[in-house]
Amino acid sequence: MNRKTITEKEMSEQLRRGTISLPPLRIRLLKNNIIPGLNQRFKAIIELSWHQNIVRCAVEYKSLYTPKAFRDGLNFLKLLMLPRGYEPLLFMPFLSEEHLLDLEREGISGIDLCGNCVVIVPGMLAIFRSGGENRFSTSAPIKNIYRKNSSMVGRVFLLKYRYDGVQEICAEVNRRNILINKWNKKPMSLATVSKSLKTLEQDLIIQRNKTIQLIQPDKLLEKLSRNYNSPTITGQVRIKISEGRAGIQKLLLNYSKELNIPIVATGLSSVDKFAVMKREELLSVYCPHMDTLLERIQGSISDRFPNLEIIETNDEPVYFDAWQEGDFRWASPIQVYLELMMGDRRDRETAEQMKSDILKNFSARQ
């Protein structure tokens, strides 16, 4: 069954109908829809049994299975004062093995809708079931905010770690996106920024208090890297032109101004600006419209050792936070890091060096 979302009501209904199967455990709903009161802040009471062993549990539901939802549920149950003879139990759509181990460590039971559970009742029951596949994984209610355009919301936190509000973040994202300023791309909306922030918060990467601030830059980088997809390329050409590297850069900058086309070096071609790595002889650049540029560039496209590669893409993140040095635009350090992480062993080693620099900058700013 593939579901887009599941609500607490639907979860409660499954408990009522007894459709949750976690053999050898039997589950019976005793009381539901408990109105939170002074002594009964939990949402349901269920009975778990295995042969003659029967235990009653006070249940907290969470319809999301994000790290934040899990942490909130766990903290809630840890602090809950329960009547004698009741055990705390967390009920979520999916509990990963990591979550099950956390629950076990805390002595709190947990069940999910995917066949996983941990039940800990000292002297009576100890059950650990894992390996059940996440039936909700392909339809998580939150879209992947770590790739494509929405990744720019995460990226902006690595450039400035604290913001006063959503509007400031939105403005910063749009200010750093050169395709908005130079190529008439539509600015990112406040709604998209808010949605991304919600996921970042659920994933415990940012925290909202009076301000919105980044709390786990390493986790953010890891998420961006794991979810990074190369840009969608609509055209690509390699050319040998008679100029040397400096001449090519100057030429491209002139065309960029003259034709009003943004041109930015790829992450891999920008590496030597940030890390100790030999510069490639081939300069690769992103550009949103290749043909206009090609009409002006004189060179041979059949040469076996080209020195310029033009990659046509309209993917905004590759242009995001591109910075100008002298007369040329280079990729942002984060784009460099992400492209290096897609490369070979030596590239990934350099990426690690860049990661530590990015994190060092974050610590220094805190």
């Binding site: 030999k278 490639e280 002889e281 081939l282 076996r304 050792f305």
Partner: protein, 287 residues
């Protein structure tokens, strides 16, 4: 089983013994290709193809001597002495141009073999050197001959100088200069070697040569690529150059040609090899 570091040590031992002479050694064969791959990888030099093969195993070192050394044979005496000192013995049937040194257990697989080679027979016309298809015999004799390679017409063109560094058998660190043939020369030799081995029952050697041709072409640098055309133009009337063009056309000009098939049958072949680019570049060079 000989591994590349053992060959490097053997070569360094020899270079150490030759340190006070002006003998410059040109390293060809599988070991020369290994050194070239190592060179471009270490320096991260851009090469014609990006997918380079792993170094194939070999227990031979092909040493090319510049014809000048064979013509003025007294210069070769230190080399003959070095072979003696290092415990090499001549190979029966190829006396004075193949030397072998047994390794542990005295088995053939743990031995290092050195083949002494030189350029074409034509280099020695009107000199005191006696030449036939098999041997170049310096006069006066110094105990070293060389096998002439007639297709190596461009042997002395645009050699690549490289520092070989490592440990001697004694454990002492040592480094010395060696030379690698220009890839065009390397390709010439390997194309002929491939054709010569093609009809042997044991296909292993022709597969090795096909793989070597891929490796040589793959590791061509931009400068070498451009100079290859200059060399090619300069020698365009040479019959071996023309013949090499026919070999390429017959065996390497398409995916269904025997050279390409044998390359794919090599143990070292990988599916990421850039066959189309390889065919296109080789045919462009030997058009």
């Amino acid at each position: 089983m000989i591994i590349m570091p053992d060959l490097k040590t053997s070569l360094l031992d020899l270079l150490f013994e030759l340190k006070d002479t002006d003998i410059k050694l040109i390293i060809g064969g599988g070991f020369g290709i290994f050194l070239k791959i190592e060179h471009v990888k270490q320096l991260r030099i851009r090469t014609l193809l990006q997918e380079l093969p792993e170094a194939r195993s070999t227990n031979d070192i092909d040493l090319f001597l510049r014809p000048e050394l064979l013509i003025h044979s007294e210069k070769l005496k230190p080399m003959a002495n070095a072979f003696k000192k290092l415990g090499y013995r001549v190979v029966a049937g190829a006396e004075k141009y193949q030397f072998i040194k047994s390794g542990e257990g005295d088995t053939q697989t743990s031995s290092v073999k050195i083949d002494i080679l030189t350029g074409p027979q034509s280099y020695f016309h009107n000199t005191t050197v006696k030449v036939d298809k098999r041997r170049v015999r310096p006069h006066p004799s110094v105990g070293i001959h060389a096998h002439p390679v007639d297709e190596a017409v461009t042997l002395e063109e645009e050699l690549l100088q490289k520092t070989l560094a490592g440990e001697l058998t004694s454990g002492e660190k040592w480094q010395a200069e060696i030379f690698l043939p220009h890839p065009y020369t390397f390709l010439m030799m390997k194309l002929f070697a491939f054709r010569d081995r093609l009809n042997y029952a044991d296909k292993e050697f022709s597969r090795y040569h096909a793989l070597d041709i891929y490796a040589i072409l793959a590791t061509i640098t931009e400068e070498e690529w451009r100079s290859a055309f200059k060399i090619c133009k300069e020698y365009s009337d040479n019959r071996f150059i023309k013949e090499a063009g026919l070999i390429v056309s017959q065996y390497f000009s398409g995916i269904d040609r025997m050279g390409i098939i044998q390359l794919q049958e090599s143990h070292y072949y990988r599916h990421d090899f850039q066959l189309n680019e390889f065919i296109s570049a080789l045919t462009e060079l030997f058009r």
